[in-house]
Symmetry: C2
Subunit: 405 residues, 2 copies
């Protein structure tokens, strides 16, 4: 991996956060040549966990492992980059068992309270010794912050993804922290390869599940880089089970407040992921409105955002709206062409089936922007969907021709 490429959306600066209930350690374990590639988080007290995983039917070993834990609580999280431990069969699971066994001893916790994730190349056996040797060093290792955690889980990412939001409730403050990684092989479900979100309050099982599932749809499941879904995609939400908020009002109102802020965190992380899509030059926002069903809105929005032809046209700053027609039509969704309206930026291209006399020069100028908005009004129902994607660039091809070899 010697691609020199930095996303034009890379933030100018990053802030380090040190959440109070997490002991964070990062290492260079040797999965990657130089950079840190191992993250270990020791939760000071057990956190309640809820997780959503890839729907890939060839899910990686860590996902099989985590699903099988039969525990709602997490005391240790171990994530490595550089090797996905995917399609590694029974041996892949055995390797996890080896490093988990050592971790359970070192951290003095039960094996079923240790969650694991991996990201990186598919199909190579993971050598547990690389992780074990670092676990054994943990007592001599300096704790670090969340920004370094975000850095340790990167693969082809060109910047770390991190966010913090606070909610003030009854003069209490609840902090929500999140990190993520992902830049290619990004498409629902999930929208990311890996994301970990930590919330400083006690939530019961049904609340934490509700909060994660409610917000994953419009965030991680609404972005797409290449329409390809990883074997390892994972989003985990952790709540500090000991921090019980003394809230006077209705519990459902509190959950609503938290949900809104959590959505902000998850949406922000998704946007960071899509903004670091491999080889990205431009962000594409596809906004489908007035569909006759949720499924129709989804299908059309993703068909546009995933079309190689649409993505290449936007890369070339070409307002080739005929390809939007193509992408809508190929979903096989029955729509009424006479009710269809299309806007690119502020320019009306089609209004209720008729081509408008749009200003070509302004449209071409608009295409030079870093963010391109495509608005599709189907005019038949009440369902909407926003999907964020990015363009397909020469850099994407370069990055993805040189990944494994």
């Amino acid at each position: 991996m010697t691609i020199k490429y930095i996303s034009p959306f890379k933030p100018k600066k990053f802030i380090e956060f040190i959440p109070k209930n997490l002991n964070i350690y990062t290492f260079h374990a040797g999965f990657k040549r130089k950079k840190n590639d191992l993250l270990i988080i020791r939760f000071k007290k057990p956190f309640r966990i809820s997780a959503v995983y890839t729907k890939s039917t060839l899910e990686a070993a860590p996902i099989k492992w985590d699903k099988n834990l039969k525990s709602d609580f997490c005391e240790v999280l171990i994530v490595n980059s550089g090797n996905a431990n995917a399609f590694t069969g029974v041996k892949g699971l055995k390797e996890i068992n080896k490093y988990i066994t050592i971790a359970a001893k070192v951290f003095k916790c039960k094996k079923n309270k240790i969650y694991v994730s991996s990201t990186g190349i598919i199909g190579e056996q993971l050598d547990s010794n690389l992780i074990i040797s670092k676990i054994k060093l943990i007592k001599k290792t300096k704790k670090t912050g969340l920004l370094n955690a975000a850095k340790a889980i990167m693969t082809t990412d060109t910047f770390p993804k991190i966010i913090k939001e606070g909610i003030n409730i009854n003069s209490h403050k609840i902090d929500i922290y999140g990190i993520a990684k992902g830049s290619g092989m990004i498409a629902p479900n999930m929208g990311t390869m890996l994301s970990y979100i930590f919330i400083d309050t006690k939530l019961n099982k049904s609340e934490i599940d509700f909060l994660l599932k409610r917000n994953v749809e419009n965030t991680f499941n609404s972005i797409t880089v290449d329409g390809d879904t990883s074997t390892n995609d994972t989003v985990m939400l952790f709540s500090s089970n000991h921090d019980n908020l003394n809230y006077k009002g209705k519990r459902s109102k509190l959950i609503d407040l938290i949900s809104k802020k959590l959505e902000k965190v998850m949406s922000n992380l998704s946007m960071q992921i899509i903004s670091d899509g491999e080889g990205i030059n431009k962000l594409i926002k596809v906004n489908v409105v007035k569909a006759k069903s949720k499924n129709q809105a989804n299908k059309i929005a993703f068909a546009i955002a995933n079309s190689i032809l649409v993505k290449s046209a936007i890369n070339g700053e070409d307002p080739n709206w005929g390809r939007l027609i193509m992408a809508i039509g190929k979903t096989l969704e029955k729509i009424d062409p006479a009710k269809l309206s299309i806007k690119i930026g502020n320019q009306k291209i089609i209004f209720k089936g008729n081509k408008k006399n749009f200003k070509t020069r302004e449209l071409i100028k608009y295409m030079k922007n870093k963010k391109i908005a495509l608005d599709i009004d189907l005019g038949v129902g009440k369902y909407n969907k926003v999907v964020w994607g990015n363009d397909l660039s020469h850099k994407y091809l370069e990055i993805n021709s040189e990944y494994s070899s």
Copy 2:
């Protein structure tokens, strides 16, 4: 369109054919800057026709027109390139009516015996006068052959697609001629933008429909360039209704003989199309075997052939087989990893779930070939599917960033 690019699979020479029952005319009508862009075929006697069209729900005007003809016979075929007459609303149909009305007068035939197709840019109104002015010149125009017909319907194609096959039956010879065009926006259904096949024998309605539908699945519907389906895709099969073969044996046996040869023609045209896929460097043959259903075999074969990540890896000559795992998994088809075997060329990569010690150097050498074979054995059933695709290249991006502007 100033892209200088020629497919490495372009045939070295082309043979011109002059089918006996067709008067073929080609013109430069003005849809394209320089090259011929209009094909008119006057059938000397009415031919029976069967057609298969795109399933796009935003089908172009010519497809609406043809479907509405309510006639099994064709006397004139008019095809233009350079303008797809797609998403042109009621006006698009009116323009067809204008040139059909003139054609009916000039050729002294009924309007419902005239079939039309268009290919080219989507969403621009088609000016019927460009076609009408050429129809009026028809009596002064020299007839030409099928190769020129194939050339007149090209868009981004880098070579014309043409084939002839003969069948000897009872010392009679039946000729089958075919032409096609297509190089981008290629994916089922259909697998091509346009194809016309002419067979020199009388077939009844059910026979001609059977022959087309039977063979379209494994030919035009088994190729994919970019997973994008055009608004204009059309395959038409014509039989010279007057040439009645005096066949002594069972009729079904004759139809079987014809079917085999027709499959050869359609398969050959599909391969010509995929071999001229925009920016192609390499052909990819995805062969899925032992799936538990036809649908499963199809889904997995197309998921691999359409994956941007798989296509970029092959473009970069990178044997990144982890992406095959990813593509199989993302179909959400439940398969048994322990029964899965994968070969790239002759190298066994996975055998019944276990990674083999394949020869990396030989594998890398194999990736330099122009044709890459990916064999996926699911080991669970009896259904197979072969799909042909091609790699995703920098040239593809160039071609598709510069098409409309």
